[in-house]
């Protein structure tokens, strides 16, 4: 009955059911971090503004440098005029002394230039080169006069300012990351804690219907993927978004024609990337699904290898493996190919933008609309604008699985809890309970439509022993569920010392029972912590006394650190010893009622005797419900409940039931049959 949960969701990614709802919910859950996120956003925007201003400054530097590249004709003619006025004596211009010999050379060169360019109305590049060659042959003094000069002061200032810009934008970006690390780690921690608390408020029904692996993967994988997407996707969308917006604004401020060209070419690339993303998603999903399938097959074959060998199942399993392996090969190749195409396409878009900007820029420069520095600035703007686009596209793509993961997390957090017990005010003290228990026409079923315990009544006196017997899967756990109030009964009543369990809070009911189940549940921690589970005020001597009683003390003395030995580390704890530890745990709990599963599996005969003696000790003086496997227990039980297919079909003691010759007698005799 407990196996009926939905199958594991091995590898297959789930589609998000309601994307916007999931995102809204996620935003609502981040509320405690709103201030920090706002801080991060502000820093991110500031950082973007700084990195957007930078190209503008680089343009300034380029313009200054460019100013030092070309000869200024007016300057030359003014210098020439001054030199010609007195060619024989030396003269001083702008603090530079020009000798008469230098003047002569200058005049000759000027004439050469003039003659060469005779009749040329427009300079070609070749002409310019010729002039520059001649200029280089001029005497130093004159070159100093006519050659263009850069404004180093301005360059230095601009460069210093840029260093400041780059540094502060880097620091801002780092701080943003610093703050976001706190947000994501804290958010993940909150989610996990919420899940952890939720686990203990859910009715057992939930866990009987859902697989443990499923809940586990919500705690780790799903929370991880939600929080990392918060970092990567949200962070990227904020940061890159403000960068994109900033560069867009700067571009349009600088020159709207070039801005338009840059935006259009980038969009062109973006559309391609979006198309590829959409298309490749198919292969990624396919790869996940196929990976899940092949993993399942591998797991199945490896863990059942003995059967595969003994039944010569290799061919069958190979055939299936090959089929799955081929599928995964296809998905791998396509997925890899598709995702590998994104970057080159974005790079191409960048280049396209570059050329477009250069050509438009050249056109505009030649018409004197803009300066060369603006082209340089736009080269950077194109990059600033187009690279966030692709990252945003990826981030949005990454948001999809994150939303699916968050849906699963919140689905768990929103799961219906056990009814609250605020209206039950009277509390029960376990010291004052005698141990009588009455079942009064109890009706119960796991599903509303199907009642499995139809009408069960019994009157048990304190100290009596009740054996529960039946074939495997007969529903013996159901009795545990009802006694412990893990499930609520549908009709009738269970009364302890005359008080209805309906009027007791669950934790009080639990405190009345000591429960030792077949599953020897050990948890990480020391032997002591495992025995004194959840009891902080138990002394070592008390524990050792109990260990003496159940026959554990010898074992504990052999452990390297005695009671303080870590159970997780020592694999030397055998199944039988684990069972003894659970019994000791039950003794520490010391409650008036006992629920005991007698099954001793995988225990060698000698330990089994030890365990049985310990169990007998545990039963002393308690009203005991025993899931019985031993004939001795069954035979001297005060009441035997015979269960089959979930229902209690016979009740009575051994003699009565044998006399009746029904199911129990059959069961009992079958032990000796061939």
């Amino acid at each position: 009955m407990f196996n009926g949960g939905p199958g594991g969701r091995r590898g297959a990614p789930e589609k998000v059911k309601n994307f916007s709802k999931a995102i809204r919910r996620m935003l609502a859950e981040i509320k405690p971090f709103y201030a920090l996120i706002a801080l991060a956003i502000v820093m991110s925007i500031l950082g973007s503004i700084l990195s957007v201003i930078a190209p503008d400054k680089l343009a300034e530097i380029t313009d200054e440098i460019s100013a030092g590249l070309v000869l200024n004709r007016e300057k030359i003619s003014s210098v020439a005029n001054e030199l010609i006025t007195d060619p024989t004596s030396s003269s001083e211009i702008d603090g530079i002394t020009v000798s008469p010999e230098d003047k002569t050379v200058f005049l000759i060169k000027m004439q050469e230039i003039q003659s060469e360019l005779d009749g040329v109305t427009e300079f070609s590049r070749e002409d310019a080169k010729k002039i520059y060659k001649k200029v280089d042959e001029l005497p130093e003094s004159i070159r100093g006069l006519i050659e263009p000069k850069m404004n180093f002061e301005a360059i230095r200032n601009a460069a210093t300012f840029m260093v400041f810009l780059y540094l502060s934008s880097a620091i801002l970006e780092f701080l943003e990351g610093f703050v976001m690390a706190r947000v994501t780690a804290g958010f993940a921690r909150n989610l996990r804690n919420q899940i952890s608390h939720k686990i203990n408020r859910l009715p057992l029904k939930y866990f009987d219907r859902n697989q443990i692996g499923d809940t586990l993967s919500r705690v780790t994988n799903d929370v991880d993927s939600v929080s990392s997407s918060l970092d990567n996707s949200f962070g990227a969308i904020i940061g890159e978004g403000s960068l994109m917006l900033g560069s867009l604004v700067m571009m349009f401020i600088t020159n709207w024609i070039m801005a338009l060209v840059a935006v259009l070419t980038s969009l062109f690339g973006f559309i391609f990337v979006a198309l590829i993303l959409k298309h490749s998603q198919k292969y990624f999903t396919m790869r996940q699904v196929e990976l899940g399938n092949i993993n399942a097959h591998i797991e199945e074959v490896y863990s059942g290898i003995a059967v595969v060998k003994a039944y010569d199942g290799k061919e069958v399993s190979d055939k299936k493996f090959d089929k799955l392996n081929k599928k995964i090969r296809f998905a791998n190749q396509r997925g890899q190919f598709m995702s590998g195409m994104m970057h080159p396409i974005m790079a191409f878009t960048g280049n396209l933008g570059y050329v477009a900007v250069c050509v438009t820029g050249a056109l505009l420069t030649m018409n004197g609309v803009i300066s060369f520095g603006i082209i340089v600035a736009f080269m950077t703007y194109v990059r600033l604008f187009s690279s966030p686009l692709s990252r945003i596209a990826q981030a949005v793509g990454g948001l999809q699985p994150a939303a699916a993961a968050s849906e699963r997390v919140f689905e768990f957090i929103d799961e219906e809890e056990m009814p609250n017990e605020h209206d039950i005010t009277n509390r029960v003290d376990k010291e004052s309970i005698r141990g009588d228990i009455v079942f009064d026409h109890v009706r119960f079923g796991y599903d509303d439509g199907k009642t499995i315990i139809k009408d069960f009544s019994a009157d048990v006196k304190a100290g009596q022993k009740i054996a529960i017997v039946g074939p495997t899967g007969a529903g013996k756990t159901t009795m545990v569920n009802l006694l412990m109030k893990f499930y609520d009964i549908k009709d009738g009543d269970i009364r302890i010392d005359g008080i209805s369990t309906k009027n007791m809070v669950r934790s009080d009911v639990h405190s009345l029972f000591t429960m030792v189940l077949q599953d020897t549940w050990m948890f990480s921690g020391t032997v002591r912590e495992n025995i004194a589970y959840n009891h902080s005020n138990v002394s070592d001597s008390q524990i050792m006394k109990i260990c003496d009683t159940v026959g554990l003390s010898h074992f504990i003395k052999t452990l390297p650190k005695g009671l303080k030995t870590d159970i997780t580390d020592s694999e030397s704890v055998s199944a039988g010893q684990k069972q003894l530890i659970t019994i000791a745990r039950g003794m520490v709990e010391d409650a008036p009622f006992l629920i005991l599963d007698e099954a001793t599996s995988n225990v060698d005969t000698r330990t089994e005797e030890l365990v049985q003696r310990a169990m007998d000790k545990l039963m002393e003086g308690r009203t005991s419900f025993i899931i019985a496997h031993r004939l001795s227990t069954i035979k001297n039980a005060d009441l035997i409940l015979v269960m089959n297919e979930g229902n209690i079909i016979e009740t009575g003691n051994h003699e009565q039931l044998m006399k009746k010759g029904g199911f129990y007698a059959d069961l009992y005799n079958s032990q000796f049959a061939l």
């Binding site: 440098i65 591998i298 890899q336 050329v355 709990e589």
Partner: protein, 585 residues
């Protein structure tokens, strides 16, 4: 890792060669572009340039860009094929190898580890190959090519680029040395967190019964806080990375322009323009150089992880197969006999024997049972029959032939083996019962139904919605433990073997089903020999021969009655389960 590359086929090597060519071509085109850029820059700068020249150069540049795009895509196609082929071939090889390994070797590796090796480790190496192919091929080509293009332009610029590369490498190495060990810590902490959750979930009834909810929550919170603190620290260290990289990239451009201003102002007039366009080109190439070093650094970050995976894969592929095939597959003189002659067994590296000097003979139609405490070696003993292990000394004979001489298929065709823990495959009820290959034709529908009936599985199967065609989930999670066990037994019956081997297969059944099943089985398989390992006296008390094992030695042999009289250990076991009256002593 390079050892694994031997698995590439000729086609893959050809593809790799093509990928290198296309990547080299792409790098060439990519690096050609700055030249056009520089020409365009010069053209824009110089007075009197023709618009036509600019357009022509722009077109050439775009042509290069497009060519580079095409080359990358084509190279990507080849690389993705090589990666996918690698996974395909290597995964197949591992799977095949594991199927051939002895149970002993599989235990040595552990099933879980073998699964990871076949799945995750292969994926890890594939990722390293596909990413590595791009980085390892592209980065050095780019770096060398770009460096030769800019090497002699200006020592000042080269120095600046060198400094930038060094700063970047130091940053990466520092961050990684801080972060990588912590990644491992986070993994451990996550395991711990999982552990705490798992124990809360598996022990949910105990937690509730002991009102220990708060106790568990505190424990969880402690582990959770530790995870959160460590991830936060790692995230913070990592968030230095991106700003630092931007800083270096922006810084190098600025430095080159700044230095450029001085270099230009000092050069002669006819050189200025050339130096200027050199500057623009250089800053472009410098970015390429830095990026390729960045990629190389990243590649060397991936390699160690992939290397670990590759080694784990090689361990499996290099493991020696100890259980080898014989060549006997003829008719045998005897039928249905099993004989152990002075059999001893120990694990290859172990000192102590698990079984010592065991001899017995089972005749056709007989039932031989084995009983003893855990670790007495009873399971090991019957696992020697299907050759899951090979004996250390002595010999095992089936139908008078040494099991080592059989072709394994021929040996297995005689056996019907049912393990302690039922192995159920995903599929249908029928596919589980009719599983495997016994050298004859597939069992008929009727045969499957009979097998189910004998195994006491008929009732529950026929209650399922599609009966024998009902779906069985992986590991049989949609049916109960007892039901799984009955299907596993039905599987052995459907095989029609001469010899049944039941390795403690009845413990998961209740007494009643156990008894009914054995009764039906006895009637159905009158001629078959059965070897039974059991824990319950009731299961074996009617066997023709019972061997009592203790610490690997046979301490008693005979029928139930004989052993009660003269075997102390047997009597002890019997009395712990049944009362004196019930045993009729």
């Amino acid at each position: 890792m390079f050892k694994l590359f031997k698995n590439f086929k000729k086609k893959d090597w050809f593809f790799i060669l093509l990928a290198i060519l296309f990547i080299a071509g792409q790098v060439g085109l990519e690096l050609k572009m700055p030249e056009y850029m520089s020409t365009i820059t010069q053209l824009v700068q110089t007075e009197g340039s023709e618009m036509g020249d600019i357009l022509q150069n722009g077109a050439m540049m775009l042509l290069c860009a497009f060519g580079s795009l095409l080359s990358t895509i084509i190279a990507g196609w080849f690389v993705s094929n090589v990666g996918a082929d690698f996974t395909y071939i290597v995964r197949k090889k591992i799977f095949d190898k594991v199927e051939k390994l002895g149970i002993n070797e599989i235990k040595k590796f552990s099933t879980a580890s073998l699964i990871t090796r076949t799945t995750n480790d292969v994926t890890q190496v594939r990722m390293a190959i596909t990413m590595g192919a791009n980085m390892l091929i592209r980065a050095p080509i780019t770096a060398v090519w770009a460096i030769t293009k800019i090497a002699n332009k200006s020592w000042q610029w080269s120095t600046a680029t060198g400094v930038a590369v060094v700063i970047m490498l130091i940053t990466i190495v520092t961050i990684m040395t801080v972060v990588i060990p912590r990644f491992k810590i986070i993994q451990k902490l996550t395991d711990k967190l999982n552990g705490v959750t798992r124990e809360n979930l598996t022990g949910i009834r105990v937690v509730r019964a002991f009102n220990a909810e708060k106790y568990q929550e505190h424990k969880f919170d402690a582990a959770n806080t530790e995870v959160a603190d460590t991830t936060r620290f790692v995230d913070r260290v990592l968030s230095v990375m991106s700003p630092m990289m931007y800083l270096v990239m922006n810084g190098i451009t600025l430095a080159i322009y700044f230095i450029g201003a001085f270099v230009i102002s000092e050069s002669i007039m006819s050189d200025k323009l050339i130096v200027f366009s050199d500057m623009v080109v250089f800053s472009n190439y410098a970015t390429h150089v830095i990026l390729s070093f960045l990629f190389l650094a990243m590649f060397f970050m991936i390699v160690p992880r992939a290397q670990v995976s590759a080694e784990r894969i090689n361990e499996v592929l290099d493991e020696e197969i100890t259980v080898t095939d014989g060549d006997f597959d003829d008719e045998t003189a005897e039928v249905g006999t099993v004989e152990f002659r002075n059999v001893s067994f120990k694990y290859p590296d172990a000192e102590e024997y698990l079984l010592k000097d065991i001899s017995f003979r089972a005749e056709k139609g007989q039932t031989v049972a084995f009983i003893g405490s855990t670790g007495s070696g009873k399971s090991t003993l019957i696992n020697l029959v299907p050759r899951f292990y090979d004996v250390t000394d002595g010999a095992v004979f089936v139908d008078g032939v040494n099991v080592k001489d059989y072709k394994q298929k021929a040996l297995h065709q005689k056996l019907g083996y049912v393990p302690q823990k039922a192995v159920i495959f995903s599929g249908t009820v029928a596919s589980n019962i009719g599983y495997g290959d016994n050298g004859k034709e597939k069992p008929s529908e009727k045969k499957i139904q009979t097998a189910a009936k004998v195994a006491q599985a008929k009732n529950f199967v026929e209650k399922l919605d599609k009966q024998y065609n009902s779906h069985i989930a992986q590991s049989g999670t949609n049916i109960s433990g007892g039901q799984k066990q009955r299907l596993a037994i039905a599987r052995a019956i459907a095989r029609n073997p001469e010899i049944y081997i039941f390795d403690d297969s009845f413990s998961a059944l209740d007494y009643k089903t156990d008894a009914a099943l054995r009764k039906a089985l006895k009637e159905y398989t009158k001629d078959a020999t059965s070897l039974i390992v059991a824990q319950r006296i009731g299961t074996i008390m009617h066997a023709d021969q019972i061997l009592v094992l203790d610490k690997g030695r046979c301490v008693g042999r005979g029928t139930h009655k004989e052993l009660l009289k003269n075997c102390e250990i047997y009597k002890e076991i019997a009395l712990s389960q049944l009362t004196k009256e019930e045993l009729n002593v």
